[in-house]
Symmetry: C2
Amino acid sequence: MTPTITAFNWVPDFARSYVRDMRARWAFEEIGEDYAVSVIDHATVKGPAHRRVQPFGQVPTYADDEVEIFESGAIALHIARRAPGLLPADRAGQARAEQWVIAALNSVEPMIMQLAMVDIFEADRPWSAARRPQVVEDIRGRLADLSAALGDKDWLDGAFSVGDLTMVSVLRGLHDSGLLAEFPTLAAYVARGEARPAYRRALADHLADFEAEPVPA
Amino acid sequence: MTPTITAFNWVPDFARSYVRDMRARWAFEEIGEDYAVSVIDHATVKGPAHRRVQPFGQVPTYADDEVEIFESGAIALHIARRAPGLLPADRAGQARAEQWVIAALNSVEPMIMQLAMVDIFEADRPWSAARRPQVVEDIRGRLADLSAALGDKDWLDGAFSVGDLTMVSVLRGLHDSGLLAEFPTLAAYVARGEARPAYRRALADHLADFEAEPVPA
């Protein structure tokens, strides 16, 4: 079978380009492999059949002849192992690429997610306004460290890898915050990622799969 | 060289057994490989030499003849690839084990970390008391899903894997909260992990490496 991922048939405008099927689509485009998309609604994603693969009721999931998995980071790594383009050939380089995948997912994204909590998902809660400055300060500290690690390099470790794909995907979550602009080398890093033809193809396909209006479940 | 990890020479009592060098130690014990520990103080961890490997100024880091990496999840995966014991032999099983590593680090730990924020690191902030019930509710929802995924199995996917090592390490963070007790199958899962001889050896060595009193940097 053609490797197949799941994606939503609709999300609000603010979430478009950020749903995590983007990471799988981008990975496929980087290695130049065809893939199929099963576009599903929110009720299906929360239903028992989907949850047998994705226990938390989210997208994306991934299926090929060999395996069915969830977690966009694990899916991106699995795609990266299918063909050259996202992982170096040597074991040490592969370990460093995995390190950056996990750094993005465990050391950077959780902080950025808290900004989405105070600004979007919990914007109306009484604690969010008071909490926001600390959330921003925590992110600033992490971005300063990451910026120092990137230095004047184009990518985190040699050639573009699944580590960069994941880190750029995570950092993009700061676009509306203005925080990236405080770290010009990181802003340029994200812009380099978003300028890649593979990213642009993935984004176009991601956006094209959404219905304009919410679809009744 | 003997593979070497870094660990702290001292942390407060509440953090003992939870510092992430535990994950690397446990992984080494599971595959039965000797390792060395470079015990360092907090000033060294925040210094420029350590940050060249660990940009965020944390432990653990890992070094062998081939590679130097950070991120406990990436280190555990790297150790798991050195010898049998933590990854199945087939590629599909390996992808599912990686999926659980990343699920633990990206879908479970960030929520549990927020409980540590309100209860410990931001306990004195004006927003923490108001926020706590929502943090707990979010964790409950995630644990319910995870509990359903585990079902009546001993481990998440067949034999004990690096995915279980990471998930148990993450769920342990709830010991003081009482939340695990609300999900008896997850409490039993964590207890099974902590009862493994490899875990117990790792914990004993982790604790033995701490000084009793803070060491001036």
